[in-house]
Symmetry: C2
Subunit: 403 residues, 2 copies
């Protein structure tokens, strides 16, 4: 049996078909037997979906006990009626589970700008909230019910010992890309039984998201609905983590990052129309911010992405994309490596092109996993990010009118 | 006879084949009989080509008398030898024309990271500098000699009366896109016989470039070699423009903008692998900066570009890209229009989707020129920008290994 979110103490869930999508499960429920500390980050897009607006309010106390997610309709650009729909989801969930509706986080993904089918979704919740269960299959149903154009569900589970306590962390995610007129909504919900203060959890989530979900790119656009939330219900029984200096905190943080990076990479692996998974690493930067901006600028460049599709060791585009990152670095110090996950060949040394065996390089670049490493030789900080290539399939997929 | 840069008083030029490119003209010379006031803007990329570094120094006095441009080798990432090559181009030009080498602006476009063929280019200059001429054909030769992957030369000429004086403005440009491992270098050289102070010209050029060349996008990346330079040699005999309040200044500025917008649109029209020319307009914004950022974010979005290719009226992607522009606007006030250059249909009113005839809309979007207009209803400022769609041809073109 593969472990999933149901293997975290006190977590029950369900995934069902409410009818908003014609054939697939489209309604997910995650519930914790006790109120949990919660940390969450939301889309930076100035146009925000209605459930994002509501969930931000519900996050104010840092306590959440249930998450409900519908797929098929993003409830974005839907005005007051849409906001009332999101409220109805929280209210129904609260009533049925006997908890305060403010302890309910609401998320949506799907088409933008279509009236929100409140009645259908509320009906679906009424029918399915009683079915929540801690069976492994219920976790799989939830993981499937949040998908849109994803080709596979994204799940993760890990356990570790922290100061004598067994801690579990598990999560589900969706991503993939976007389909008209919806954007590539990225959702991730992570549950853990560690005991941690809400404020510390919120800070931790923000930092760890910056190293994981914020370091991936498929389209370069941020959707109106993006949300990453972590619930920590404390049922592991450890001494509550209250400060960064508490024993075990750093270990928990590392494990949470491991989970988020795992889910983030799964999202990239399922990028719409992508044929390659590309890891970008910048090492020996003056500071982490510089390294991150370089990784993002390179991985987001259309010219770099098309070159990856063409198995083209064109370091010129990588260097140019780095130059457009808006950060300072000394180009005459830069070493650049290209290859697959096992072997990377130096193509640039101190900013000067090196001769390399182009036929051998093309063999490496034919692999499905490509690695790009830039050494700035200017400090001790670094960053890693992940992206896809850009293919003709991507363009066709994204140009088709689908409604 | 079509007028070109040779129809500006005192301008001579030439375009020749020096041998750096195998078949096409690859060396352009523009010369003014008298030293000219000069204004120029250079790439914002942190990795800058050697001729950019040299030309920035030569611009310090605001006086330029000759521009030499080679195509086929970008002289970027070429180290000290490359810088010496750029210096040799200026020195040779100065010697042959009998002017200070600091009055020479040098530009390059072509492959990045290949050793610069200084001897070949200097030899080409020695052979061709004596051939400069004010014949119209010489202007065409120059316009052709700066091209790389462009499919047609980009030229413009306009004349107008200013305070009783006849003023001429003409220019040549190149752009198109990029080809491995070179980037989409954009070069534009404009000459005019107006008399204007160097400082005022520099300020004017910067502002006008922001409304023209900085409002176009094909790839979203800025190359290591981008350069726009304007020479004003004063041979029209007008009272020298010294301040924004001088009679005629605003007219000159408008005409310079007309020329730059003309050349910028030609560059977009020749975007690599593009099938459509798209104009993006934001009106009634609180300020011009907000409007410009919105136009750039929308026109640069891969998702918007692929939708344009698919003739897909997906306002959701346009709104989402606007939301990612990093500026504030009230989505619930926004009206959005889509269509061809003659007719745009309102698809969104006060942020609420409108019903429209999708079949008729698809007919409009089948045209080669598409117009997108966003009304923020929040002020009196606006911005216009131009971009292309993203096609399967674009991906194929940019993924092919060409060396």
């Amino acid at each position: 049996m593969i472990k999933n979110i149901t293997n975290v103490r006190g977590i029950k869930c369900w995934g069902a078909h409410s009818g908003v999508k014609s054939l697939r499960r489209d309604l997910a429920i995650i519930y914790s037997e006790v109120p949990a500390s919660a940390g969450a980050v939301f889309t930076q897009n100035k146009v925000q979906a209605e459930p994002v607006k509501l969930s931000k309010k519900h996050m104010k106390n840092g306590r959440i006990q249930a998450i409900v997610v519908n797929a098929g309709n993003a409830n974005a650009c839907t005005g007051e009626a849409g906001y009332e729909g999101a409220q109805a989801m929280a209210r129904t969930t609260g009533e049925m589970l006997g908890i305060d509706e403010k302890l309910v986080l609401v998320a949506s993904t799907g088409l933008i700008g279509k009236p929100f089918p409140t009645d259908e979704v509320v009906e679906g919740l009424r029918e399915n909230l009683p079915k929540i269960s801690s069976k492994s299959s219920a976790g799989s149903f939830a993981a499937n019910a949040i998908l849109t154009t994803d080709t596979f569900p994204k799940e993760g589970f890990l356990e570790f010992e922290m100061e004598g306590y067994e801690i579990n962390i598990a999560g589900i995610a969706k991503g993939s890309g976007m389909i008209f007129p919806n954007m590539a909504t990225m959702l991730a919900f992570i549950v853990t039984d560690v005991a941690i203060q809400p404020k510390l959890l919120q800070l931790t989530v923000k930092e760890v998201v910056d190293n994981s979900f914020n370091m991936i790119t498929v389209d370069g656009d941020t959707s109106t609905n993006d949300m990453v939330a972590v619930l920590a219900n404390g049922l592991a029984g450890n001494d509550k983590l209250k400060s960064r200096n508490d024993p075990g905190y750093q270990l928990f943080r590392d494990k949470l990052e491991e989970m988020m990076v795992h889910l983030a990479k799964l999202i990239v692996s399922d990028g719409e129309g992508a044929s390659k998974f590309v890891q970008y690493e910048v090492v020996n930067a003056a500071d982490a911010k510089t390294a991150k901006k370089l990784v993002r600028s390179i991985s987001d460049s259309t010219l770099v992405k098309t070159a990856m599709f063409g198995r083209d060791p064109n370091w010129g585009r990588i260097v140019c994309a780095a130059g457009n990152a808006g950060v300072k670095f000394d180009y005459t110090k830069v070493d650049l490596y290209l290859g697959d996950e096992n072997e990377q060949i130096k193509v640039l040394e101190q900013g000067t092109p090196l001769d390399f065996d182009r036929n051998y390089m093309k063999k490496l670049l034919r692999k499905s996993h490509i690695f790009v490493k830039m050494d700035l030789k200017n400090g001790n900080s670094g960053a890693v990010g992940w992206g896809t290539d850009m293919t003709t399939d991507y363009v066709i997929f994204n140009s088709v009118y689908t409604t």
